[in-house]
């Protein structure tokens, strides 16, 4: 499958944290052509194994990108059939006014988030941010009918079909971190064309947005020699200070900081330079806030890298990524993996 199409399909589907099962089949069907084994663990992580060439006691690398997305959850059904809701993961209430949504009840139901017409607002009311508890979802049914379709606890997603912008960029919801899944897909395709010694575990993790939960259990289970988290980083926009951001279209950001293994990081930079793959740095002296956090301190500790794909407007329904960055992330990772042999890994990891 074409990587852009795969990514679009992932984003147009829904996988709110804790409710990721709806995209497992899509992931399996894409990766199966290149994988030796695909399994789903108890929390729902999808683990895709691509074996190295010796096929016996190879060193193991784990690559993680999270498959969950932020969303909303039904809290109550009002007398007139409107729905009150809360958030799952970091949703800015200011980004959901007037959105179209799907309430995933007994069946998927179309709805809209109700807004107060400007004509009825008090002066300067529109200077205040709307709070989540002031908002309703209108499903167009009365209370009885809503109750027959919807239960408290059902999840809700914003409706947003992927949109193609200029310059190979895509806009949509949940590109955080389906862009990461897409780059793993592009990477496994690259690796099917080149020789590599390491056994590679591509993990589509669950529940990253609510506390890196999937990475915790999958890393324990796989017990890799080292790990790489692929997530998204803040793409530069006018309102953000340059030091907090990375640039769109300039390649993956290689994270530098305490959570990152310094020699592995030097190695991946070396590979980027050797193969002329554009890259940039992202500095995180402490917590990175991605699956890398969980991977690093699993079991007795695991050397970890983090790659960030530049993404604008994170956690809105119009996140923007550049396909070039996804492809370059994949390429960098593939060449990096292929460059490591079972024999030299120990030297690479020792301080």
């Amino acid at each position: 499958m074409n990587t852009k199409e795969f990514l679009s399909e992932l984003c147009n589907s829904h996988s709110v944290s804790g409710h990721e099962s709806g995209i497992v089949e899509l992931i399996e069907s894409a990766f199966s052509k290149y994988a030796d084994k695909i399994s789903v663990d108890k929390l729902g992580n999808v683990i895709i194994l691509k074996k190295g060439k010796n096929n016996f006691s190879n060193s193991k690398i784990m690559i993680a990108a999270h498959m969950d997305e932020i969303g909303l959850i039904v809290k109550s059904i009002e007398e007139n059939g409107f729905i009150k809701f809360s958030n799952i993961g970091g949703v800015d209430p200011r980004t959901i006014l007037s959105q179209e949504v799907t309430v995933h009840g007994n069946k998927d139901l179309f709805g809209v988030i109700v807004s107060k017409p400007p004509h009825l607002q008090e002066e300067s009311e529109n200077e205040k941010a709307i709070m989540m508890d002031e908002l309703y979802i209108d499903l167009g049914y009365d209370n009885n009918e809503v109750n027959s379709y919807v239960n408290v606890g059902d999840v809700i997603t914003i409706n947003r079909e992927i949109k193609e912008l200029k310059g190979d960029r895509l806009a949509g919801k949940s590109l955080d971190d389906k862009a990461g899944i897409a780059s793993m897909y592009e990477c496994i395709k690259e690796l099917s064309k080149i020789e590599h010694e390491l056994d590679i575990y591509f993990v589509c993790t669950v529940q990253e947005e609510v506390g890196l939960r999937g990475a915790i259990t999958s890393t324990y289970n796989i017990n890799p020699d080292f790990g790489v988290a692929i997530d998204v980083g803040f793409g530069s926009t006018p309102e953000l200070p340059k030091r907090d951001t990375i640039d769109m279209g300039m390649g993956p950001a290689i994270t530098i900081g305490g959570y990152i293994h310094p020699k592995l990081r030097e190695k991946i930079v070396e590979i980027a330079k050797e193969y002329n793959i554009p890259f940039q740095y992202e500095v995180a002296p402490g917590s990175i806030g991605t699956d890398a956090n969980a991977i690093q301190i699993t079991r007795e500790g695991i050397p970890t890298l983090n790659l960030s794909i530049p993404l604008r407007y994170m956690h809105t329904s119009v996140e923007v990524v550049d396909m070039k960055d996804i492809r370059n992330t994949a390429k960098l990772l593939a060449f990096f993996i292929a460059s490591i042999t079972n024999d030299d890994l120990e030297g690479l990891l020792c301080y």
Binding site: T95, L109, L120, D138, F234, S317
Partner: protein, 343 residues
């Protein structure tokens, strides 16, 4: 479907051409005279039985939207609002820019990087911009220019119990009703007028009324509806599914009481549900119609629309049908001479 075609067309105030062309194509074979005036209003006349009074029915064609004001060095597009838009509905939306409908997005600062006090404030329009995926002013300028109109990207969708979600229901719903009347009413003389620029100051209606010089006007609208739970009923301007809303007064007109009572009488007689539009906020073309020349009598009949002036307005097909039935009954009374009796 007519309402789908009308709502998915773009027609921000001052740029109604796409909507106007659709309307002209729909009505041209059903009218006896068709004129596009100097401002762009469509003035159609149906010649039927002679009547002692001139009836004009109007609907405005334009919708609220945005306009490009600048392109910055990094290729981001700055804009201003055209008509009354709550800037808060713009965040995290997709839009179409210009005649070629270039897709763009309006994003916002990631929640992760927001300071605590930022979260309580609405994002100011000065801090919003459109991103079309380009990196420089030169690149963006290939696709977008200053002055381009911008519309919400929102499809016509039917959902729930006979409801419709679309952009620009205010006032394509009025346009749709008027088109249907023009097509289906036979042998009654009346003017059907589709106005421009209602949303930026009722600009088109005055000159159109000056030309037509009507005795009685009925203004068709999509109007405020905010029937949310837990607010006092007197604060709810209209309800969905309670029928056409008949205006009492708004910021531009105190509607003629006798005409309003006649219309209510017609609704009751024909067993058509109706409600009053209870808010005095907002205004419409009536403001400039009833004060034109020596003045005339007006009434406003509206289809209630939730989330008006947002990308996701909602109305009921039942309300639409009942509004249409009421209009047919009113025209029947006009035909018999009863509506104009006493005026």
């Amino acid at each position: 479907m007519l309402l789908k075609k009308l709502t998915e067309a773009s027609g921000v105030s001052g740029n109604e051409k796409e909507v106007r062309d659709i309307i002209i194509a729909e009505i041209k074979d059903h009218v006896d005279d068709l004129k596009i005036d100097k401002l762009g209003n469509i003035i159609a006349y149906k010649n039927g039985k002679p009547s002692s009074k001139k009836l004009m029915i109007t609907a405005h064609m334009d919708e609220v939207g945005l306009m490009v004001t600048d392109i910055d060095d990094k290729g981001f597009i700055k804009f201003t609002t055209v008509g009354g838009i709550d800037k808060r509905v713009l965040v995290s939306k997709t839009v179409h820019i210009g005649d070629n409908k270039i897709p763009g997005v309006i994003g916002s600062k990631p929640i992760h990087l927001q300071k605590k006090n930022e979260r309580n404030k609405a994002i100011d329009i000065d801090n919003l911009y459109i991103d079309i995926g380009t990196d420089t002013k030169e690149e963006t300028s290939k696709f977008v220019k200053i002055g381009d109109y911008v519309t919400f990207d929102s499809k016509y969708i039917e959902f729930g119990d006979d409801l419709i979600k679309a952009k620009a229901l205010d006032n394509r719903v009025g346009c749709s009703l008027l088109i249907e009347l023009i097509k289906e009413v036979k042998d009654v003389s009346f003017y059907g007028v589709f106005t421009v620029m209602e949303e930026i100051g009722l600009r088109g209606a005055g000159p159109a009324a000056y030309y037509v010089n009507p005795d009685i006007s009925i203004i068709l609208e999509g109007t405020l509806c905010y029937d949310v739970p837990k607010i006092d009923s007197h604060l709810i301007p209209t309800y969905i599914n309670k029928g056409p809303a008949i205006s009492l007064m708004d910021r531009t007109t105190i509607f003629n009481r006798s005409l309003r009572e006649k219309i209510v009488g017609i609704a009751i007689k024909n067993n058509i549900p109706y409600q009053y539009r209870k808010s005095s906020m907002g205004g419409n073309d009536s403001g400039n119609i009833h004060t034109k020349k020596e003045g005339s009598i007006t009434a406003t009949i509206s289809v209630p629309c939730r989330n008006i002036h947002s990308p996701t307005s909602v109305m009921s097909k039942k309300d639409y049908d009942n509004t249409y039935r009421l209009l047919r009954a009113i025209i029947k009374d006009f035909e018999k001479g009863e509506l104009v009796n006493g005026f």
